[in-house]
């Protein structure tokens, strides 16, 4: 199976995937913001705006608070590195890429945890009021999101016998489990988790200027220059990661095997981009239709996701009758 040619294909596809993800992440965020602005009746900034912001911020030297330590300087690098590795692990346009054996759902969750902890510690580093507030809320939300993610993973593990994302995607693309109510419930649970993890409406408003309601942005108030650029880039990568994850788990169609060669890759990449844009558009429509909820309503929102995940797993127990 592991002939040199297929190995080369896997490595090349992986490198292409990483490059595509790293370049596309700010564009995806830009498209999402542009769509949302259009839906709200604004003209909206160009989808290239996030990249422009990043490059502009990169040219500036960061200003650190006097009370800040080396954590403020190291944390953005750790967050981007962890998120980028996680994004490299989630399959994109191709299946069976070089890092496919590593692409475990729990490992990806763990890497996102690294980025989250780095962000929370950076938020607390300067010792300002808002940073600590945001860190406390972020960690509290994560506590509710994690079990919902785990129960969704349980549904996948029952259906395919694995938590490897690449394996699940391949199995689902082959139509192994068919259409199941449990999968719909797991989808709802994962959508809620994705909204919370990315700090999107209704959990958090990425465009807010009211500090008291902020979570994610509150931790970045002291960041500036290239550090701020890194944080923003990590956020864009995380958004792409989650959309790619939903894509791989629930729309695993039209992907190319890593050994298929460049032409198939290009077709698959175009299809993948289309599906990602579809998800982004759905997110924009959803965000337009709903208002941000109070901070202390978020546990109810994520608790509902947890219950849906549990319901999905229980339905699977009853329907599959595993022995």
């Amino acid at each position: 199976m592991a002939t040199p040619l297929s190995l080369l294909g896997a490595v090349l596809a992986q490198i292409l995937h990483v490059a595509l993800v790293l370049v596309a992440a700010p564009f995806l965020l830009g498209v999402l913001e542009w769509l949302r602005a259009r839906l709200l009746g604004f003209r909206g900034a160009s989808p290239r705006q996030p990249w422009r912001d990043l490059l502009r911020l990169l040219r500036k030297r960061p200003v650190l608070a006097e009370s800040a330590s080396w954590i403020s300087r190291a944390a953005p690098y750790a967050a981007v590195a962890a998120t980028a590795v996680a994004a490299a692990l989630v399959p994109g346009f191709a299946r069976g890429m070089a890092l496919a054996p590593l692409s475990d759902l729990l490992v990806v969750a763990g890497l996102l945890g690294v980025a989250r902890v780095a962000l929370a510690l950076a938020g607390m580093d300067a010792g300002t009021a808002f940073g600590g507030l945001g860190a406390a809320r972020e960690m509290a939300f994560a506590a509710f999101a994690e079990p919902a993610l785990l129960l969704a993973a349980m549904s996948f593990a029952i259906l395919t016998g694995s938590t490897n994302i690449d394996f699940i995607a391949t199995a689902f693309a082959g139509g192994a489990p068919g259409l199941r109510v449990s999968l719909a419930l797991a989808l709802l649970a994962l959508l809620a988790v994705a909204l919370a993890e990315n700090g999107r409406i209704p959990v958090d408003n990425p465009a807010t200027h009211l500090e008291l309601t902020m979570v994610h942005e509150a931790m970045l108030l002291e960041a500036s220059g290239r550090h701020l650029a890194l944080w923003q880039y990590a956020a864009a990568l995380r958004l792409l990661l989650w959309l790619a994850l939903l894509n791989a788990l629930f729309l695993p169609y039209g992907t190319a095997p890593a050994a298929a060669g460049p032409l198939a890759w290009v077709v698959a990449a175009v299809l993948w981009a289309g599906r990602m844009l579809l998800l982004a558009a759905a997110l924009a429509v959803f965000e337009r239709a709903i208002a941000k909820m109070r901070v202390f309503r978020v546990p109810e929102f994520l608790g509902a996701a947890l219950l849906l995940g549990l319901l999905g797993a229980v339905l699977l127990f009853v329907s599959t009758g595993l022995t």
Binding site: A136, L306, L316
Partner: protein
């Protein structure tokens, strides 16, 4: 090899005997700590050799000691014992190194006044504590195990009561002694039931009511081999399981018998807290694993694991939740210990259930997760408690509200603590993540036990453990952020400094070990195979798996490539930004949303504008802890005056405290009041009472003799 262990035990006892003479001397405590550390190191080395299969296979060893009238005490060293001895040795040597570092006289400062940790009983109790734990792990019969367990309990009680001038420590020590005594009673009863089954041979004869053995049970064969040959069945099995769960669980900190742990562990000197949290709870878990999984045999049904799983999950959840709320660093760490002990117990429970369902590979997976997590937690919790001890030395406080900014004054401690925090928060590629990944894989595979009720239990357990892991991550971020980051909260924190060089190494070595254990979980699991054998039998043991962790089939976790990728990404990022971005950083006053910099009379800024321990805990308190820990949230501002911030009562009530311990204390008081009435009896009534007791006992004997 066993002979070497016996010699080490003798050395420990010798150290304890020498302690009263050494306590007053100038280098007395140095010698004691050095001796204890060397013995612990030797224990770890011997255990590692035993796990690797070096040296002659070890037959049991019989010591010419034992209870009067009973068999001589027997020692043995199998894989399970060796695994826990390895953990004990690692934790013991690190804690001894830390104590040594602080006991060594330092050239440029006055020798510190002898504190409570330098008293003779405390110094004598430390080697005895180590000896008790080692004896428990080496025991091959119930008497020896109980003797070691009790030695461990009593020695650690002395250590908890070391600083007995403080009323809270006295209360903690008393509660600890009560729980330890109750646990011992439960364990003795459990072994009695096991031994009775072994003595009568067939359980059928036992249930018919024949008296087991000779009166007093001294004729029972309580060697593990004999107990293993006659696993309990029926009601006896239920009773043994519940009694062991109560006895070993009380000592390990399983719900609902955990309330003593956050009180007693912090009361001891820091290096002893580290040993108690890192090693003693694991020794109790060893007793649980030994009795429930090994001695009770492989023939137990699926439900056998459910009580262990339930107690473990409850402990994980409650411990993590309390850890997010506590405002004392050492109490927080003790609560985190409850959480991790719960995770290990959940793994053991899952292993028992899988074994009952004949799912050998999954049982090995779950038991492997439990053993790996026990080792990992033992190391990183030792590290964290030692770091808390260093902070206690440096900043003279355990309260998070009096720390802050220590990363700048104690950089060494902060860096080591960061490693421990990241491992405890289950961040890849550190050690905590590897074992928790394995445990979660076992949980996610649990629905393969066909029973629907068990599947529901497994789904609920998965949700609870996910919640517990995420809560632990929040608790660890809170601990590190409040203690080491931000502005100084007190001048003491601004003047803190790292410990002496030897104590720094005592932090750096467990930190390095935490990283190492995280990178090589696969070889570690191979190392644990001899330890898995008594737990899951010979079937389904994992094969060699170089540098990766593979669940029974399918998903794999490869920490080394992952760490490599992370390093690669980080390095590439640094190089890229160095080319594209101006070098260096500027510093200035915190922007803080445009608030003006603090005036000169507030050198660390306004303390009220930095989140404190209660403030950082507030979201989770309001979302989860308030409802679960029986505390109404009263964060609303005090309406009577606008300038006073609203403060709720700081104490959260643990449900186990409210539901179990308070009623138990009330019952004790009621019984005592009733017993007091006996004193007012007339002589006639007293005689009647004695006579009635005599008649009752005679009747009982007659009934028992009748069979």
């Amino acid at each position: 090899m066993l002979t070497a262990y016996v010699l080490l035990l003798a050395v420990l006892v010798g150290l304890a005997l020498a302690a009263p003479f050494l306590a007053g001397r100038r280098h007395g405590s140095v010698a004691l700590h050095a001796g204890g550390g060397l013995v612990a190191l030797a224990m770890a080395a011997l255990a590692l050799a035993a796990l690797l299969g070096v040296g002659a296979p070890h037959a049991g060893l019989t010591l010419p000691l034992g209870p009067p009238g009973g068999a001589a005490s027997r020692l043995a060293l199998d894989g399970l014992s060796a695994w826990f001895l390895l953990l004990l040795g690692l934790s013991g040597s690190a804690t001894a190194l830390f104590a040594l570092g602080h006991a060594l006289p330092r050239p440029n400062r006055r020798h510190h006044a002898a504190g409570p940790a330098d008293r003779a009983p405390v110094l004598a109790a430390q080697p005895l504590f180590l000896a008790g734990m080692a004896l428990t792990l080496l025991a091959a019969d119930a008497y020896t195990l109980l003797a070691g367990f009790e030695l461990m309990s009593l020695a650690s009680w002395v250590l908890v009561a070391a600083d007995h001038e403080v009323a809270e420590n006295r209360a903690a020590a008393r509660l600890y002694l009560i729980v330890a005594a109750c646990g011992a009673v439960a364990l003795i009863l459990a072994f009695g039931l096991l031994g009775a089954g072994a003595a009568t041979g067939t359980p059928a004869g036992a249930s018919a009511g024949t008296p087991p053995g000779t009166p007093g049970g001294l004729g029972m064969d309580l060697a593990f081999a004999a107990l293993r040959a006659a696993p309990p069945e029926g009601w006896r099995a239920v009773a043994v399981l519940l009694l062991v769960l109560a006895g070993a669980g009380a000592k390990a900190g399983l719900v609902p018998l955990h309330v003593w742990l956050p009180l007693a562990h912090p009361a001891a000197p820091s290096h002893v807290s580290a040993l108690m949290s890192g090693a003693m709870t694991k020794v109790s878990l060893y007793v649980l694993a030994r009795v429930a999984l090994d001695l009770c045999g492989p023939a137990q049904p699926v439900w056998w694991g459910v009580p262990i799983l339930a107690a473990g999950v409850a402990a994980a959840l409650l411990g993590a939740l309390r850890a997010t709320q506590e405002s004392d660093a050492k109490v927080l760490l003790a609560c985190s210990t409850i959480e991790n002990v719960g995770l290990v117990a959940a793994g053991l429970g899952l292993a028992a259930a899988f074994r009952g369902a004949d799912l050998g590979p999954l049982a090995a997976l779950a038991a492997g997760a439990a053993l790996l997590h026990a080792l990992n937690h033992g190391v990183f919790k030792t590290l964290l408690f030692l770091a808390a001890g260093e902070v206690l030395h440096g900043a003279a406080t355990r309260r998070l509200d009096r720390m802050g900014g220590l990363i700048r004054t104690m950089p060494w401690t902060a860096a080591c603590a960061l490693v421990g925090i990241a491992a405890a928060a289950a961040l890849p590629p550190l050690s905590g993540f590897a074992s928790e990944w394995l445990l979660l894989q076992a949980l996610l595979a649990a629905p393969r036990v066909g029973d629907l009720a068990f599947q529901l239990v497994a789904a609920a357990a998965a949700a609870c453990i996910g919640l517990a892991v995420a809560l632990a991550s929040a608790a660890m971020v809170r601990l590190f952020g409040l203690a080491f980051l931000g502005r100084f909260r007190t001048p003491r924190a601004a003047g803190a400094e790292d410990g002496p060089p030897v104590a720094r190494w005592a932090l750096a070595l467990p930190a390095a070990l935490t990283v190492l254990l995280g990178l090589i979980p696969g070889p570690l699991l191979d190392l644990a195979v001899p330890a898995l054998r008594p737990l899951v039998g010979g079937t389904g043991l994992p094969g060699p798996q170089a540098f990766s962790l593979a669940a029974a089939e399918g998903p794999r976790y490869l920490p080394l490539p992952l760490a490599l990728l992370l390093g690669l990404a980080g390095g590439a990022l640094v190089l890229l930004l160095r080319a594209r971005s101006p070098a260096g950083v500027e510093t200035g006053p915190a922007w803080d949303c445009g608030f003006i910099p603090p005036p000169a009379h507030l050198p660390f800024g306004d303390p009220l504008t930095q989140p404190d321990a209660a403030g950082f805990a507030q979201p989770l308190r309001r979302m989860l802890a308030g409802p679960l820990l029986r505390r109404a949230d009263r964060d609303a501002p005090d309406r009577s005056s606008l300038d006073r911030p609203g403060h709720g009562p700081p104490a959260l009530r643990d449900p186990a405290w409210v539901l179990l311990f308070v009623p138990a204390a009330r019952l004790r008081d009621a019984l005592a009041a009733q017993a007091e009435r006996l004193r007012g009896f007339t002589i006639r009534r007293c005689l009647t009472l004695s006579f009635a007791t005599l008649v009752l006992l005679l009747a009982a004997i007659a009934w028992l003799e009748r069979g």
